[in-house]
Symmetry: C2
Subunit: 257 residues, 2 copies
């Protein structure tokens, strides 16, 4: 009996137009999806894969990097490369369509929200901030950067900007735990309307470090302007959510026809 080839053996065609590292990535991806490679199990060491596939280690790493970025593989320094086990779908969801805060969303899922203040300053607004909040360049703003967590795990980095003249005096302790919305509610500045933009971006070095993910990982970026009942802009917020841990949900209704 001939030795059956291992489940990670991949046919390579060096004459193909497709680069070798893409062939390796594609081959591994197929074998993972087909079940030949079990979820949660370890891949052979990079050096071993390279020697068996007759390619350099750099080429193997280029292939593994592609799959790791998609979340298909998980690399552990000093330990090995593993096929990412199927997530128990514990992806916290944020419900759009109504004005709820990060804290409320996390709590509604039975988890405990948290915030670590990364930056707190009273300063002049950037052109972008001045425009979004309809401020004259002279008016000052509070600019707050916070790491938002759920059950202690980093989920997002949130940058909030508020007009100082409108919200009154603010201290770092005020925003270290609770939601900004709750604080605004106490001051009779509860937002009643907001416009929110969503898009996908890649994590830069700073965000990847704060969120504990690889540089280049996919993030859900949002930008939001909130208005009080009086029609005054009260907050301009930008947030970057981990793409692998966050999921926005919304309900839509017909346009009347």
């Amino acid at each position: 009996m001939s030795p059956s080839s291992p489940p990670w053996a991949i046919p390579l065609d060096s004459a193909s137009a497709l680069p070798v590292y893409m062939q390796v990535a594609q081959g591994l991806e197929q074998r993972i999806h087909s079940g030949d490679l079990r979820r949660g199990s370890a891949l052979p060491a990079e050096r071993e894969l390279a020697s068996h596939l007759q390619v350099s280690r750099v080429t193997v790493r280029q292939a593994l990097a592609l799959l790791a970025q998609q979340g298909l593989l998980t690399r552990k320094h000093g330990s090995g490369t593993f096929i990412t086990p199927p997530t128990p779908e514990e992806r916290p969801s944020r419900t759009l369509g109504l004005l709820s805060s990060f804290s409320e969303d996390v709590r509604s899922r039975g988890q405990t929200p948290g915030a670590r203040v990364l930056g707190f300053e009273l300063t002049r607004p950037s052109p972008q901030e001045a425009m979004s909040l309809a401020l004259s360049p002279g008016e000052k703003v509070y600019r707050i950067r916070r790491l938002r967590t759920s059950d202690g795990e980093a989920l997002a980095v949130e940058d909030s900007t508020l007009p100082a003249a409108l919200v009154g005096e603010l201290h770092e302790e005020d925003v270290s735990d609770a939601s900004l919305y709750a604080l605004l509610g106490i001051r009779k500045l509860q937002p009643v309307r907001a416009i929110r933009h969503l898009r996908a971006v890649s994590a830069d070095l700073q965000l990847s470090e704060l969120l504990g993910i690889a540089p280049g990982a996919a993030l859900l970026a949002t930008e939001r302007v909130s208005w009080t009942g009086g029609g005054r802009p009260v907050e301009y917020a930008r947030a970057h959510y981990r793409g692998d841990r966050y999921d926005f949900v919304m309900e839509l209704h017909g346009n009347g026809e």
Copy 2:
């Protein structure tokens, strides 16, 4: 007079804990944001950068890859590496909060929507599809994969699944141009309610090729189930939008307190 160092000179500390390629990426990023390196201008060739910074070309490439993935740099094979010019903010926006189709959204921005059918099959549903559409595994579905374009430019890949028994006979020509919603409307199956999920993912090889972007680029992934007025699920759709070209906008209202 000593020769002033070029704007892309970067101080490197090989003893630093931060890897050299990250130092290079960080340095270039700073100089781009500070304006030392003009938007739209070309970077020195990789070999030139490497020799001046006294690092290998591989290390330079690793740094450039990080910035290119964030969209800060644009690499053109055979031509050079350029600092991405500030976008004219021609990002097509899709307005959420009401049930509108891709076609309507693109048209509402004065652009021309298009669709290229990549796949069309009448088949048995996957477990995921059967669950989302509340089907018994025996019932057949139409599964349609289309490349959605705006003014001829690829914007998204959309996978739609419809219950065959509900929608009646369907042909590839029916979906090659117009929106599915329009087609459903004619058959009195206009959706009146939908649940939509949004998250960020990295492009795999297949999607990156279809959309003409680099593997690993950030994508906005959506999943949607639509119901008719009679409360029957009529479409299960998954879509992947280019993160650099698409932007979802929504208006939110307070929760009544």
